[in-house]
């Protein structure tokens, strides 16, 4: 899976769960920059990402994900 594919898929999941379709995300976008990306949405985003990519994160990894890029790196680390 390419980095771009991972990023696109993660962005799609995030935008769907925060209820925004037109926002432009990049790897540096922080969860705190996005309206609607609160702690409960974060849990739902991570659940869907785990299911989509067939991976599991632990508590500390989830807490360390502050940006879109952090999530992508965590996915790529599990898949490598």
């Amino acid at each position: 899976m390419t980095h771009d594919h991972t990023f696109n898929k993660v962005s799609e999941i995030i935008l769907k769960n925060v209820g925004q379709t037109k926002l432009n995300l990049n790897r540096n976008t922080l969860s705190s920059d996005v309206d609607g990306w609160g702690s409960l949405q974060h849990i739902m985003i991570i659940s869907e990402i785990e299911e989509t990519f067939g991976i599991k994160f632990d508590f500390m990894e989830i807490l360390e994900m502050k940006s879109v890029g952090d999530i992508c790196i965590a996915i790529e680390k599990q898949n490598s």
Binding site: L40, I43, I46, K56, D58, F59, M60
Partner: protein, 353 residues
């Protein structure tokens, strides 16, 4: 709170492989003088088969009349997704308006709470002194492969500890203060305590302490209900659990008030109120207790002055400095206006077990 009794009477409680609270803890919660009927004291997560996969508890408290809660137990079934654990934690924090406290956290939980950034984390260091050989108590926990030879370790302890009787004879220092033992505190004790706990978010009064004394969370096996211990992750049953308060007097003047608990072989001092200058005398009292009660192997305290006093005593086989991890939410800190919070060992639910 009002639904706790419903849960205890439910089929989930009767038939489930896991239970989220024991009848003892529930009965105790219902009598908490700082709680009200609408307080949420337990959040439970169930799977699709209605089996419990996680829970988080709250112990209602008040700091300077501000309602808040201690976290009291947080468990998820191994293998459960981390999100369930997170969701339970966030529910606890939200239920209490971000006015929460944590005591006796594991290092892992402490890192999580620190990472979340909404609390002030505190690490305090206390004293644990081993007065007798605790091989049978300590070694199998650290090295599980030794469990089959636990009876041999008990024999080794008995032999080695017999040899310590000579040391006990040589311990001459006695406490020069007069002492009164009591199970219950009164208004005079509240007045005494108030001189010491100004910076303590965990502060309790005689009403609270008497509720705690009369509603322990541990029970001896002969009085325990069946099918509780094996379905509850945290403590329920123990061979020995005793608690009491000691008032120390220098002539007629009260100079100390100390709570102690003995759980199996461990003596702990969950609450200590005393002036620094009397700490050494008070430590002498506990050495006498250690000498006479031959079942006790260790003593633990986090009180600064007592820690220093015990470190000066030469009769311990081994002395350890041990950490304790606590946290208080920034929201609560700013509302209760305590700048430098100080916690006692028994704060939160620690005193109950």
């Amino acid at each position: 709170m009002a639904q706790l009794a419903d849960y205890l009477n439910s089929s989930e409680f009767a038939n489930g492989k896991t239970i989220a609270i024991t009848p003892l803890r529930a009965a105790s919660q219902l009598k908490n003088p700082k709680a009200s009927g609408s307080d949420i004291v337990l959040n439970i997560a169930f799977d699709e088969n209605n089996e419990i996969i996680g829970y988080i508890g709250a112990l209602p408290h008040k700091v300077n009349d501000i309602k808040c809660a201690w976290n009291s137990c947080w468990w998820v079934k191994p293998g459960t997704p981390a999100q369930i654990s997170m969701k339970l934690l966030f529910m606890f924090i939200d239920n209490w308006g971000k006015k929460v406290l944590f005591s006796e956290m594991t290092p892992h939980t402490s890192k999580i709470i620190e990472k979340l950034g909404f609390c002030k984390n505190l690490t305090t260091f206390g004293f644990r002194g081993y007065f007798r050989f605790p091989l049978a108590e300590v070694l199998p926990q650290k090295k599980p492969f030794l469990k089959p030879i636990a009876p041999l370790l008990v024999l080794a302890d008995k032999t080695l500890n017999f040899g310590l009787n000579l040391r006990d004879v040589l311990i001459r220092d006695k406490c020069s203060l007069s002492i009164e033992k009591t199970d219950l505190l009164n208004n005079a004790d509240d007045l005494f305590i108030s001189k010491f706990d100004m910076h303590s978010p965990g502060k309790r009064n005689s009403n609270d302490f008497n509720w705690i004394s009369q509603n322990p969370w541990l029970i001896e096996p002969e009085n325990a209900q069946p099918r509780i211990s094996n379905r509850y992750y945290f403590s329920y049953q123990t061979q020995r659990f005793e608690t009491a308060w000691l008032r120390f007097f220098d002539k007629q003047k009260q100079v100390g008030l100390v709570a102690y608990s003995i759980r199996n072989n461990s003596l702990k001092l969950p609450y200590v109120y005393c002036e620094k200058e009397y700490a050494y005398e008070i430590s002498n009292y506990f050495l006498t207790l250690l000498k006479t009660d031959k079942r006790i192997t260790s003593l633990t305290t986090f009180h600064n002055a007592l820690t220093e006093a015990f470190k000066q005593q030469h009769c311990f086989l081994y002395k350890l400095t041990i950490p304790k991890y606590s946290a208080i939410s920034k929201q609560l800190l700013s509302e209760c206006k305590i700048d430098s919070p100080i916690f006692q060992m028994g704060d939160g639910d620690a005193i109950f077990t």
